[in-house]
């Protein structure tokens, strides 16, 4: 078994290299899982996945590396694929020794719904489990599929088997797995897409990334809403309810056996968002506004504004950002002027319950920063959070006045990608 152990360790190393976090305990679990499930391809794949993959978004990476590591052995060129060669063995890239794996005769049906199927696969009219069970002990699904592929390609059976294209096909199936597998809700596929896009820096965004992020935002919105609701509720917990505690004590003969606490009440916060929508900031700001809009219900009042050199109220109509009044998108950023405007409207917009969230890079085109106005606004508000999508090494360079603003706010947070925006917004309260 040392060959198999080495292969599994290499496989785990590949997963770690690809960014999947695997602890030593999980590696040991994987060994035990394979020992229990056996080394036939499909059960082994699922056993390894159960032990190693703790986030469905990592599953495509897992499938790809699994196919690469435990690829079926290539057949000699010119050889016809016959029953004698139909063993469910591994080989090639570091796979276990063929003698370590089971082999047997081919059965007709593909393995299971989880095993990606060729396009020509017909729905099974009867319970596929009944058919699949014997095949699990005899031949893995991928081999079965490749056989059918081979048969389809060869027609009269005279064509040669091409291991390269078979592996490519395996890989393709691996990539296709979520969409086939999850043809229903596709939640896992959505989660995987979100995972990728939420880590992409805004600085690398084009319209394409923005569209992808916008599509993936639904999951993030739900998560953020729940996270924020928890935070706002939890913050108010912990006070003892004396009247209920005494009443409970009466039941126990007067002894203070049980403490009763006040019911948790959501705090009545107000949210005021200021988002810079100048060229370099437009993607970050639009996504942040959408994300925050999803949690507007958690606040007593939530208002969003966008700015470049002036302030405009922001809203969404049919998913599109609408500004009132419209801003000149080619104007030069001037947050100092925006602060003056905000100060003039302070009574209308800001109270002691208001949390102000600013999304901007603090680049002011060398115009007066007027950070003192921001400090004054902070005295009248509950708190000010600043989300900055710019990398810290660029802060205070060129026309950046972020250092001055940083001293006037309660927290200056990095918001270089969607995940960091969510983290930042979750600190509200």
């Amino acid at each position: 078994m040392s060959g198999l152990r080495a292969a599994l360790l290499d496989f785990i190393a590949d997963l770690r290299t690809a960014g999947v976090r695997i602890s030593i305990a999980e590696s040991l679990d994987a060994m035990h899982a394979v020992a229990a499930a056996g080394i036939e391809r499909v059960p082994m794949r699922e056993a390894l996945a159960a032990a190693l993959i703790k986030d469905e978004a990592d599953r495509p990476i897992f499938d790809e590396i699994f196919i690469r590591r435990f690829a079926p052995p290539p057949l000699p060129a010119g050889a016809r694929r016959g029953p004698a060669r139909r063993s469910g063995t591994f080989g090639a890239a570091g796979g276990p020794n063929p003698s370590e794996s089971a082999s047997g005769a081919k059965t007709a049906s593909p393995e299971s719904e989880n095993e990606p199927a060729p396009a020509t696969r017909q729905p099974q009219a009867t319970d596929s489990r009944a058919k699949a069970s014997p095949s699990r002990n005899s031949l893995d699904g991928a081999s079965a599929e490749r056989d059918s592929e081979l048969a389809a390609r060869s027609g009269d059976g005279s064509s040669e088997y091409d291991p390269a294209s078979a592996r490519e096909s395996d890989l393709k199936r691996s990539y296709d797995a979520p969409s086939h597998d999850l043809a229903g809700g596709s939640e896992a596929a959505r989660a995987a897409a979100l995972r990728a896009i939420e880590q992409t820096p805004f600085s690398r965004y084009s319209d394409l990334e923005y569209e992808t992020a916008r599509d993936a935002l639904a999951i993030l919105k739900r998560r953020f809403r729940a996270r924020l609701a928890r935070r706002l509720k939890l913050a108010a917990a912990g006070r003892i309810d004396l009247r209920r505690t005494l009443r409970a004590a009466i039941q126990h003969g007067g002894s203070l056996g049980e403490l009763r606490f006040r019911a948790r009440r959501p705090r009545h916060l107000e949210l005021l968002i200021l988002a810079d929508i100048s060229g370099s900031m437009k993607y970050a700001s639009a996504l942040m506004l959408k994300l925050a809009a999803g949690a507007a219900g958690a606040f007593r009042r939530a208002r969003s504004f966008v700015y470049i050199d002036r302030l405009a109220e922001a809203g969404f109509e049919h998913g599109r950002l609408v500004m009132t009044p419209p801003l000149d998108l080619y104007a030069r950023s001037d947050f100092g002027r925006v602060l003056a405007e905000l100060t003039a409207r302070r009574a209308e917009l800001i109270s002691r319950a208001t949390v102000i969230v600013i999304m901007g890079d603090g680049r002011n085109n060398r115009r007066p920063a007027r950070a003192n106005l921001l400090r004054d606004l902070g005295l009248h508000a509950r708190s000010i959070l600043w989300l900055n999508p710019e990398a810290p090494e660029r802060w205070n360079t060129g026309d950046s006045a972020i250092g001055q603003y940083a001293r006037a706010v309660d927290a200056m947070l990095l918001a270089r990608n969607l995940r960091e925006v969510e983290e930042g917004l979750s600190r509200i309260g």
Binding site: R21, S23, A25, E26, D29, H32, A33, A36, A37, G38, V42, P43, E46, A47, A49, A50, A51, I53, K54, D55, E56, R59, E111, S112, E113, N114, E115, P123, Q124, D127, R129, A132, S133, R136, N137, H180, D181, L182, A183, G184, G185, S186, E187, A188, A218, R222, R223, A226, R227, R230, K233, L234, A237, Q251, H252, G253, S255, G257, E258, R264
Partner: protein, 290 residues
């Protein structure tokens, strides 16, 4: 029951749970390795049902701990029965007993209210412990759970350490309302259950609502699958699909055309916005692909 992959597959089939290799392997490993199984996936995809099926398969009791915000150790593990203790205290005082004698009785198992975790640990035989919607519990409770899941033992100061006679089969479910800690994930095997594909859902409908015409079952599975792909506030669950299928039988629907779909949409969709969105596409949804 001899735990093999085949026996698990057969057991789940016998419990009328339509499954796939991924689910079977994860359940098999949870039983064979004695590790907790963390099941994630959208609400209504059949996560809780897996625990019920395991209990049915093993012919044992299912102990369920429903998590919610504010759940604490007292609700999950044990509490002393204060009222009973007070009654005993008053009775013993009246009979002139000394405190040493009284306290001996007061902190015994007879006065302990066992909550789900302790019930699972102290059960004389292997049981299935379902910790449902762990993502709804607070992070503090999750940390507390780590200790239980590692050792399957509990320290009650007055009684000492209570250790499980038989390690329970532990199934945790999560809808991902919040991210669970890495520490918890590390201790569990992981399984993601998504909504079934068209074919699998058709089989579920046929199994659970045998009175529905096979053609209608296929149409229902196809339509529900298409509806789930829309951006909705709440996608229809499998249970809602089955309710819909039963309603189609009761209403005597022969053809799942646009009017029939519109009339019965309320069984699948529970938000008005979702209903409006789907109604707008009902003709396309009802049309059978050529």
């Amino acid at each position: 029951m001899d735990i093999t992959l085949e026996s698990v597959a057969a057991g789940m089939r016998q419990a009328r749970y339509i499954t796939n290799q991924r689910v079977e392997t994860a359940v098999f490993l949870a039983l064979a390795l004695g590790k907790p199984l963390l099941i994630e996936g959208p609400a209504g995809a059949g996560k809780t049902e897996v625990a019920k099926v395991i209990a049915a398969m093993l012919g044992t009791e299912l102990i369920r701990l429903q998590c919610y915000e504010g759940l604490d150790e007292a609700r999950a593990l044990y509490e002393w029965n204060y009222q009973k203790q007070l009654l005993r205290l008053q009775a013993d005082e009246a009979s002139g007993q000394r405190w040493e004698e009284i306290s001996e009785h007061l902190f015994s198992r007879a006065y302990l209210l066992e909550r789900p975790l302790l019930r699972a640990i102290s059960a004389p035989r292997k049981v299935v412990l379902l910790i449902d919607e762990i993502d709804k519990a607070d992070e503090e409770f999750e940390a507390f759970l780590l200790e239980i899941l590692s050792d399957f033992q509990v320290s009650v100061p007055e009684l000492g350490t209570l250790k499980a006679h038989e390690r329970p089969v532990v199934v945790l479910t999560s809808n991902r309302a919040r991210e669970l800690s890495e520490a918890l994930r590390r201790r569990c095997l992981h399984l993601f259950i998504d909504f079934p594909g068209i074919e699998q859902e058709r089989r579920i409908i046929e199994l659970k609502v045998p009175d529905l015409d096979a053609r209608l079952a296929a149409d229902a599975a196809r339509i529900v699958n298409a509806i789930r792909k829309l951006e909705l506030k709440k996608a229809p669950s499998i249970a809602e699909t089955l309710d819909w299928a039963r309603a189609l039988v009761r209403l005597g629907v022969k053809e799942l055309d646009t009017p029939a779909l519109r009339v019965t949409l309320g069984l699948l969709l529970k938000h008005e916005e979702d209903r409006e969105r789907v109604e707008a596409k009902s003709s396309a949804l009802a049309a059978r692909p050529r």
